[in-house]
Symmetry: C2
Subunit: 329 residues, 2 copies
């Protein structure tokens, strides 16, 4: 039932988000539009715009240019995806070829830059420096998170706190900014604004942790081979739990292969099976739940309007997500 | 004498620009600071911040946080250089190794993103949406200009107007934005603001045209081998004049090699000598002068203060520039 209400509301908002996105695309320089359209059209459920809209409404703002404001978040997200896919040399994005496999790499990078700039221009149009500041901070945090992730790749020497800091930067700060910008747009109080950020960042961390767990779900369920993070040398939470469970000898063997980025197929398969058998993925989801509980705690300090119930449903959606894909929503 | 006054003023402003740049660097995420410092420290005479400062003062604004605002332009400029050098796979930048030859390419791209974001955040801090809008427009125009340049590389099928449009985007729009942001900061009238943009864009176009002429100066004078643009397939103005002067047969031969990006050393040398002997580089400088005349015309509508004389001297500096290097100032 709850998910039905959430899906109904999303279905109502999506056409307005799409229309705003089309208006925004038309502000882009002609040269970058094909690449930008490619990435923007391949997106999922517009989580970030949707959250900004829900927070604006929850905090009492009824104006309709929230749709234009909200798509600035999708543009920033799309810009990071364009650059990410180049950096990771990823060939696919949500089942479609990555932009840089169709367009020149140079055009792809510059299109990401133009999307960032157009997103900033869009936010600047609202004439509220707090919005521009929140947007720029989110961009910086996302870059910093990605760089931190790259520098801890193929390493087993970082703490869980460090890992949480990385995913906070690369995923949660932007989701936090989506909620915060909705609150700023609604002229919310400082307390409400802080609660909105807390909700968004906690949801973002949980979202990424669930993603990390889903990397070990069956390929039939997710459409993606299991264990990608093992091969990519990312010490995500389920992999961390697994590694901690190994005997000293097995761990030395695992570390040797993991840090070289040369995990044998046999060890990869053994690791996946152990993670499933011991429930390290389930334990990761339980850890994500602690963040979702924090998100709900922050949410409950906000007004008791329809959107509060929907935002609670968003946390359930994040918790129960079955399909792999960091960017599915 | 005139150049002496300009140099004296620049020498007075540079330490304040450097201090502001250091403050700005400290707002960057820790992870990107080494790359950002590498590119920011290798810069030249800070033309863009200097122009913003001169316009703010010319239009009557005495406040000192102009220094902080002005360095946002250097950050945007540095971000484009980081991405450019990756795109061009350039190994050097102003006699020093390019960032991406020292740091990983991924970190270099993300550092460019962080610089863009930090520049935006810095501008947003001023709480004036007109500043943010001008800054974002300049970023978009620069990206679009670079993409347009890439797509007309190794082609002889574009008009002079198209070429001017390309260099307006990739070079002149940002210089125009520097002047405009100084004017906005000074709460200038709309007429003054428009004149500031006109000055900056005309100077920017002339700056790039002189650069294109300098590509054919002697290596002893510029520290760089002549004719780089020939090999890179850029139909700059001196090359265009030269090509137009060829007989039909010679032009067919030139086109065949130029559009393949495989200009023989012999033809390259012959082209360079012809451009020098026929003065196509000098004719390019004369064409640049027409833009500098437009710049001075716009400037003369602005108040008769000390800075107006200095800005006129800037046009002379651009005209008489001897050293190669798009980014020398």
């Amino acid at each position: 039932m709850a998910q039905f209400l959430l899906k109904t509301r999303l279905a109502l908002e999506l056409p307005k988000i799409s229309a705003a996105l089309e208006r925004a695309e038309n502000t882009l320089p002609q040269e970058v539009r094909p690449v930008c359209h490619h990435i923007l059209a391949s997106q999922g459920k517009r989580l970030r715009p949707f959250l900004a809209i829900l927070f604006a409404r929850l905090l009492g703002q009824k104006k309709d240019d929230i749709y234009d404001l909200s798509v600035s978040l999708e543009m920033l997200h799309a810009a990071t995806l364009l650059h990410d896919d180049v950096l990771d040399n990823a060939s696919q994005r949500r089942g479609k070829p990555s932009a840089h496999t169709i367009y020149p790499v140079t055009t792809t990078i510059l299109s990401g830059d133009a999307l960032l700039a157009a997103g900033n221009a869009l936010v600047a149009r609202f004439g509220n420096p707090d919005l521009s500041a929140a947007y720029s901070r989110a961009t910086m945090a996302t870059c910093a998170g990605e760089i931190a992730e790259l520098s801890s790749q193929y390493s087993v020497d970082n703490t869980l706190d460090h890992y949480i800091a990385i995913i906070t930067g690369k995923t949660a700060k932007l989701i936090g900014a989506a909620c915060e910008m909705g609150a700023i747009y609604a002229h919310a109080s400082n307390d409400e604004r802080r609660a909105s950020v807390r909700f968004g960042e906690a949801v973002g961390i949980a979202f990424q942790l669930v993603d990390d767990a889903l990397d070990f779900a069956k390929e039939e369920e997710t459409g993606k081979p299991a264990g990608g993070d093992l091969k990519e040398g990312k010490l995500t939470l389920p992999i961390r739990y697994y590694r901690d469970s190994l005997t000293e000898n097995d761990r030395a063997d695992f570390d040797a292969q993991f840090t070289q980025g040369k995990l044998s197929d046999a060890l990869c398969q053994k690791s996946i099976e152990s993670i499933r058998a011991n429930g390290w993925d389930t334990k990761t989801r339980a850890y994500a739940d602690t963040y979702l509980a924090q998100a709900i705690e922050a949410l409950m300090t906000l007004p008791d309007r329809e959107e509060r119930g929907l935002l609670r449903d968003v946390t359930h959606f994040v918790r129960d997500r079955k399909k792999w894909g960091h960017h599915a929503l």
